[in-house]
């Protein structure tokens, strides 16, 4: 029994944990039990904590940390997934320097990110602003906008292939109504990537909107009202008040969406298999091909490290960009 009581005093008294934090330790402060066996109690507490995180920790070390370390080791080997790995030193990295296809996959990936992220973010922001007011049916609309988010990318690929099919597709049907003949979307090297980007913009705009809407709702109403009374026009209010105050949400949305976009695979796999030519071969798809179609596991590991480094670099850049800008606190 006493042990359980002592547990109370050990609860973290860190600021921000809740309003009860400051009063928590006082009732037991004078108890002798507290000073008599502090070490044993600490041990008990530590053991308990590690029992709680134990399963997750084992999974984390075995299926996440070990593979991450393993990929660095693997990049120094030549291995066909079956035989014995051969140590080749930095040969895979040297090969990378002269691999035009890898470079092409990299530029394709960046191109996709640049197609996807700005358009998706602007659309999501516009939707969030439109929904950030009292509207009849606003809640239903919100759910409808988020509905695409959970769609299986493999199934979406099939549906988009159909929609952009020149013979029976709905896109060309609609375009023909206004007298436009659509190109052969998915067999055109110029159009295939924008079509793939459109799948993902369709899928994630509503989801992104939810985060931005939550951010908008956290902005105190009186700021805009005061500015409006001072004669600040809507455009100025948007750029000088709303957008700066939306930075925390914007940061979260951009970081997670960019990380996700750099990993495009499913839609490419189903819709174009990297083609036509290699116009939609993204890094993820190229790594998959190297590992599981050409059985160059070591080289695939090297490519994976390059992708990882690129993502880290871009994420760090975003951190720096958003960090030097002021954070406002209204709580």
């Amino acid at each position: 029994m006493t042990d359980n009581r002592e547990g109370l005093t050990t609860a973290p008294a860190r600021p921000g944990d809740g309003p009860a934090a400051p009063t928590r330790e006082r009732p037991f402060a004078g108890r002798p039990a507290r000073s008599r066996r502090p070490r044993r109690r600490n041990l008990r507490r530590t053991v308990e904590a590690y029992l709680l995180i134990g399963p997750s920790l084992v999974g984390f070390l075995l299926f996440l940390v070990a593979p991450i370390l393993g990929v660095f080791a693997l990049s120094l080997f030549s291995w066909n997934l079956i035989g014995t790995p051969q140590f080749v030193g930095l040969a895979n990295y040297r090969r990378l320097a002269s691999d035009g296809e890898a470079w092409h996959a990299l530029t394709n990936t960046v191109y996709y990110v640049l197609l996807n992220i700005p358009l998706q973010t602007v659309l999501a922001l516009a939707l969030a602003i439109a929904l950030n007011r009292k509207l009849r049916g606003g809640k239903v609309l919100r759910v409808l906008f988020v509905l695409p988010w959970m769609a299986m990318p493999v199934a979406l690929g099939i549906i988009w292939n159909w929609a952009f099919d020149p013979r029976s597709g709905v896109v060309d049907h609609l375009l023909s109504l206004v007298g436009i003949t659509g190109p052969n979307w998915l067999t055109s090297t110029g159009w295939a990537m924008p079509v793939i980007a459109s799948v993902n913009i369709w899928q994630y705009t509503g989801y992104t909107m939810l985060f931005l809407l939550a951010g908008l709702q956290a902005i105190p109403q009186h700021l805009n009202e005061a500015a409006s009374m001072d004669g600040v026009n809507a455009a100025q209010r948007f750029f000088k008040i709303t957008l700066p105050l939306l930075r925390p949400s914007m940061f979260f949305v951009l970081v997670t969406n960019v990380i996700g976009s750099f990993q495009l695979f499913d839609t490419v796999f189903v819709m174009t298999q990297g083609g036509p030519g290699d116009s939609t071969t993204t890094m993820n798809y190229y790594i998959y091909q190297q590992a599981f179609q050409f059985f160059h596991a070591g080289y695939a590991a090297t490519l994976a490290i390059v992708l990882f480094a690129l993502i880290l670099l871009v994420t760090a850049g975003q951190f720096l960009y958003f960090r030097k800008r002021t954070v406002y606190d209204f709580s």
Binding site: P67, V71, A130, L147, P153, V154, L210, A218
Partner: protein
Amino acid sequence: MTTTAIRRALLYAVLLGGALISIAPYLMTVNAAFKNTRSLFSTQAWTPASPATFSNFAALWSQYDMSGFLVHTLIVAVAVTAGQVVFCSLSAYAFARLEFPGRDLLFWAFVATMMVPQIVTLVPLFLIMSHFGLIDTYRALILPTVFGTPYGIFLVRQYFRTIPMDLEAAARIDGASTWTILWRIMLPLSRPIMATLATVTFINSWNNLLWPLMVTSSERTTVVTVGISALQGQYASQLNIVLTAAAVALLPLIAVFLLFQRHIVRSIALTGMK
């Protein structure tokens, strides 16, 4: 007054148009699943299937082990979801409420790995699975995520930190153990976040293609994503069957999402803001 009315009407028009674009692919796909081959090509995608035919479903089920795919996917998704809810709660409680050496270091190590692309761990993970002889088993599909993911732990920990300490303190005075507190206080108060975690995990597991594609090879373990992409390669000319398969794969998730959407929409604010 009239300009306000016009602006409001315009706003609604744009929003309804957007909502229509959001759900049109679903509606057209389900519609197409009930059309026969001839009317699929001779009518517009938005023309209702009439008379509706079930022949596509019959053909799909007779040519493919569609029930098997669905059952395999369900087994994996349910196992992973149950594991995530249990193990993420346990670790999230330790990270949110207990003080122990290495806590902050471990927590940030978990969070940092959220940036690691899935493809990075894929080949070594494949190696680990083949070392333990788990290739082409359910265990290979379930094990990597069943013990909780950094995202899940982060999500639940953030939520636990918003629950007032008072309740827990009172329970401790009454002699409640950590286990009792977790089971009787934290979990009942955390239903929204548990619903969110469960839904997100279920969706991710249901939709996952890359990992199952690598570690499974036999009919016995084929999940829906792998099955459908194979079907698409094999029956590319039979558009009606492929579209029907897509509809069958999409609909269970819509049901799951609509069931829990209230919680998800609400808990989004929590992940994004903190």
